[in-house]
Each structure stands twice: as C-alpha cells, then as structure tokens.
Amino acid sequence: MIHHVLRRLALGLVTLFLISFLVYGLIRSIPGTPLTVAVAQTDPSRRLNPADLERMKAAYGLDKPWYQAYFIWLSNVARGDLGRSISRKAPVTQLIGERIGPTLALSAGSMLLTWALSIPLGLYAAARSGRPDERAVSLGLYMLYSVPTFVAALALQVVFSVWAEGTAWELPLFGMTSGLPHTTSLGWLADVARHAILPLVCMTYVSLAWYTRFINTNLQEVLRQDYIRTARAKGAGPIRVLVHHAFRNTLIPLVTMLGLSLPALLGGSVIIEQIFTWPGMGRLFFESLRERDYPTIMGLTLLFSLLTLAGQLLADLLYAWVDPRVSME
C-alpha cells in the first residue's frame, strides 16, 4: 500500500515536471510579453522605449531563453516561491489567495446542491424505472446535460437581468457584490448570495444531470444482482431494498467521483466566471493568459495539475478503502 502510494507520488512528480516544462515553453512562445501586451492595451503612445524595455526584461528575467528561465522558476518553486505577477505587481500566492474564496464559494455550493439533489433524484429514477414519469424526468435531465453552460448563462441573463428588469425577479448581471457599502455583514452576505444565484445555477445543472444519470445507471446494475433478489425474497420492503441493500453498494463508484471532482472544486470554471465576472480562479487564469503574465499562469497551471493528479490518487485510495475487494498491490 505505502509502496504503491510512494510509486504514484514519484511518477506524479515526473508528470508535474513534464507538464510545467511544456506549458512554460508554450506560453513563452505565444507572441507578446507581459511588458508589451499590457502597455499596448492601455496606451500606444506610452510604449516603452527600447532601452527601458531591455532593462525591465532583465529585471523580470525575460531576457533569458525560456528553458533557462524555466529552471530558474523551477528552483524558486522548489524553495516555495511562486514568484511575483508581472502585470499585477503582487506575489502569485497572494493573488491565488484572494481568488480562492470566491471560487470555493461557487464550487462548494454547487457541489453540495448537486449531491443533495442528485441522490434523491437518482433513487427516484431507479425506483420508478421505465414508468412514464421516470422517462420524462430522465429525458429532461438528459436534455439539460446537452445545454452548453455559456448558452444557459446567456439565456438566464436575458431572462433575469433584462426581461425581469424592475420586477422582484431581477437578478444582478455580473460581479460578486453591487459595490455599495454595506452596514452589516449580513447585508453583505445577502448581496453576495443574490449575485451567486445565476452562476450557481449554471454550475449545478450539468453536474446534477450527470450525477443523477450516474447514480441511476449504477443502481440499475446493482438491482440485477442476486443479493437484491435474496433481499426481496426474504421480505424486505421496496424502499429498504433500494436504500439499504442497493444504494449502499453504489457508493463505491460515487466515492471515486468525489476524488475526481477535486480539481473542479478549486479550479473554478473559466467560462462561468468570465461571463458573470466572478472574481475567482478561472477568471484569474483567463486574465493572466491574456496579459501573458507568466508567473501567474505557471502558478495556476501547477496548482491545477497538482489537484488533478492528487484527485486521481485520492480516488484510487478511496476506492481501495471503501471496497475491501480492491487491493493496491
């Protein structure tokens, strides 16, 4: 077991190294540097003169070829220093720290909602399998699953921000707060909650549809097992069979899903945060990519890849932990 984990960790380090090396090379070959892009966007007349540009390049270490700069970055990371953002003039760790809260608020909220709704829905769908009402619900969820998030987000904006303008149903178009000063923290919380409704709905509906289907499919498979027939034969009621005998046995794949959803929890959703201008990790990533802010992109890439790998490992470990039949050897 420990041997396996150590092996995975070592392999993970190799993968992380390869990913960061590749991404560093990729982003350095995008035309434009943080210095030229940012200045050109604000004001073309304020463009740096060549001497200043060279001086600033040297200050940020951009004068070296990318593979050299990569190893400088890597040795800093090994010492726990993610560097400073070039376009925002702040440490990368601080930027990430500022953005992680809003992202977590959305993703954790969405995940809780998904679990709270999809488990009962999945059980319901399995219990009423094949009946017209279950068919309708399942088809509805299936169709929901095919709605692209950006289409849903735009449609919700049109309905709740433009059509409902001036009514009680009006919801804020974007941002996390309305920017007005709040006297109480409760008022602030209510303001954030109002802003969070639309992004939260957009983040939840796809995973809701997906998880419900997943739970339902697993339940269908378990319900065909012999021990379910045994449970029915000895007189257990339909609800007891479904929850106690069947559902408990579908928890194994569900637990794996929990591990795999780790990166989504902290990574945020670029598109949703971008549409609703939610100040989260996804938006930070998008902005830093546009500003060619190498240190921030690298910090975020490292974080995302680390989470993905950790999520996979966590899923495997959880799998072995909940299912005694699975061994790690």
Binding site: T15, S146, F150, V158, V270, S305
Partner: protein, 368 residues
C-alpha cells in the same frame, strides 16, 4: 468486446439470415427511436450545411451573364471559386443590380433567402427592399427570419452557413483526434513495456494540462486563428481519452487466442493490429468519438463565444453568442444559435449513446 465475432457466429448458426456484427448493431440501433432521431437530425444538418449557399446568400446559384453560365454561389465554399469575370466587371458582391445593368439579357436563379452571412444587405440591393436594420432594431421578421445582429448581418444566413462550420469542426477535428488516439493507443496496448510507459506518460501529461491553456496557447502561437487552424488545435488536444480506451482494449485483446493464432502463422505486428485487433476494438472506440464530435462543436462555439475564434466576419454559431454578450436585449442572438448548438450536441449525444447500447455486449446480455 469479448468477441463481436464469436457472438455473430453463434447467431449465424441459429438464424437463417446471417448478419455481421455491424449489421446486428445497426438493426439494434434502428430500434431506438431517440438515437434514430439524433441520426436523422445530423443528416438534416449535413444537407443544410452542403446546400447553405443555395438556402441563404446574395450570390445567384446559377446565372447567365454575357452569354455564359456561371455558379457564383460557389464562392461561399471558397473565395477562389468565384468566377473572375464578376470581379473584372466590378460587381463588388452586389449581383442583382449589376447583372441587370451590365447585361440586360442576363438571368439568374437566386438562393431561397436573399441575405448574406458576412455583411448587411444594403437598401435597394434587391430592388424595392429596405436594407437590414442595425443595432438593436433587427427583430426577427419577414425579411430577417431570425433577426439581425448589431451590424445588421442576417442571423438566419449566419445560422445556415454556420452549420457547415459546426459540422466541419466536429468531424475534421475529431478525425484528427481519432487518428492520433487510435494509433498511439494501439501501439501502447499492443507492445506494452517501455513503449507503453512512454506513451502513457505523454497521454497523462496532455490530459493534465488545463485544456484551455493548451488550446489558447496553440491558437495564440498560430496567430490569426482560422477555422482550419482551430480544427487542427482541437484535434491535437482531443486524443488522450481515445488513446487510453484503445490501449485498454488492446491490452485485453492481445492475449486472446485469435491473436496467438495469427502470430503463430507468422503475421507481422502491423498486420495483427490492423487486420485482427482494430476491427475488434473499433466498436467501443466509436462511442467516445461520437461524443467527441459534440464536444468539439461545443468547444469551438465556446472559444468563439469568448472571442478566441476566427476573427470577424465569421459564420460560427459561437460568434453570434459573442455578439449577444454585449447586446443582451437582442434575445434572438441568444435563442437561435443557443438552440442550434444545444440540438446538435443533443443529437450527437443521442447517437453516441445509441451506438453504445447497440454495440456493447454486456448491455445486450443484461437486457435479456
């Protein structure tokens, strides 16, 4: 697929009309109304995509000009296909008036809807018809079936021509991804050992890099992202899932008896993979490929929506949604492209699921 072939062979013994594995699968597929509906929808899309210049356009489908027959509508498939005579005679894209003035004897067969996907129709361009309304005035109406965008470009024309873009993106990029994925995956699965170790590591790296970084970085490197470069980028980033599945299939199949038999009669690895293993592993791989087409269409429209697509004028559905972002009052800019993307993705998902049910032997047994 522990042998699509053995199953088919058993059936062959029992039933009078022998059908191959794919024949069986097709018969099962036809019994699923939703999957068939998806397939029919994709077929309809293909028809619309191919006939787009004849459905909506400002160039005649066929015309007779100065004694010659021309097909100016072909220009929508590629700029170079526009007959040179029209640029020599300074038509500047306005056919109705120029045809009449420069050759009174001329005649033309026009597209069903006289609207252009790349520019607004000007007043009196078609005799007696007003120009397209710009800004937020272009509600859906008789002349603009689905309204116009803020620049006065007809949404219906964009939708029709965007169908071709969507289908091309889906099939071409997934074609690239499938080719890479199947090749790489079968090499890893068949040879195992260090080949597998190297390939698996590469696959893992590509999977772990945030897709958006990969796509945006590649798109930025190629600069001026045309729709073709977009397809290449989507293809180059979309293969790891297929590769992993292919590897798993071959790992399972390579120790099967028919492979040992093939090896025993002296077949080369290339022949074993191509002739013996691939046909048996194809069915499970077809499913993620179908889903992948939907995902590619989705990604392309998402990128165009974020403003990373082909620079305007482009006919991508996503670019209409991008217009809608700053013009939320124009609901038709959300509704029509949104519905089109939704239905397309739904159709491909239904086909993919039908394919899965029709080809997966485990599900087949379970239903009995």
């Amino acid at each position: 697929m522990t042998g699509g072939q053995p199953t088919a062979d058993n059936r062959r013994a029992a039933t009078p009309s022998p059908r191959g594995f794919w024949g069986e699968a097709w018969a099962r597929f036809q019994r699923m109304p939703l999957a068939m509906a998806g397939l029919v929808f994709v077929g309809l899309m293909a028809v619309v995509a191919l006939l787009a210049p004849a459905i909506a356009g400002t160039k005649p489908i066929v015309c007779r000009y100065k004694g010659q027959i021309y097909f100016p509508c072909l220009a929508y498939y590629g700029r170079s296909l526009e007959p040179v005579v029209f640029s020599q005679d300074k038509f500047r894209g306005e056919y109705p008036r120029n045809l009449r003035e420069k050759d009174p004897e001329s005649w033309a067969v026009w597209p069903l809807v006289f609207q252009d996907p790349y520019r607004a129709v000007r007043p009196d361009e078609w005799p007696g018809r007003p120009g397209n309304p710009a800004r937020d005035q272009g509600r859906p109406g008789r002349l603009n079936l689905m309204g116009t965008n803020q620049n006065g470009v007809d949404v219906f024309a964009k939708m029709v021509h965007g169908t071709l873009v969507a289908l091309l993106v889906g099939f071409v990029s997934m074609g690239i991804a499938a080719t890479i994925g199947v090749t790489v995956g079968s090499l890893a699965g068949y040879f195992g050992g260090w080949v597998d170790a190297v390939i698996s590591r590469i696959t893992e790296v590509v999977m772990c890099i945030p897709t958006l970084v990969l796509i945006l970085a590649l798109l930025a490197i190629v600069e001026k992202p045309t729709i073709w470069k977009m397809m290449a980028v989507l293809g180059l980033t979309g293969w790891p899932g297929i590769s992993r599945l292919m590897r798993a299939e071959l790992l399972r199949l390579r120790s099967a008896e028919f492979v040992t038999a093939a090896r025993a009669v002296g077949a080369s690895p290339g022949r074993i993979i191509l002739r013996h293993l691939l046909p048996n592993a194809l069915a499970p791989v077809m499913v993620p490929i179908t889903f992948g087409i939907a995902a590619a269409i989705l990604t392309e429209s998402g990128l165009s929506f974020l403003g990373f697509g082909q620079p305007p004028p482009s006919a991508s559905w996503g670019s209409l949604l991008n217009d809608a972002r700053s013009n939320l009052k124009m609901w038709w800019l959300v509704f029509f492209p949104g519905a089109a993307i939704f239905l397309t993705v739904l159709a491909f998902n239904l086909v993919g699921e039908g394919l899965q049910k029709a080809t997966d032997p485990r599900l087949r047994e379970a239903r009995k």
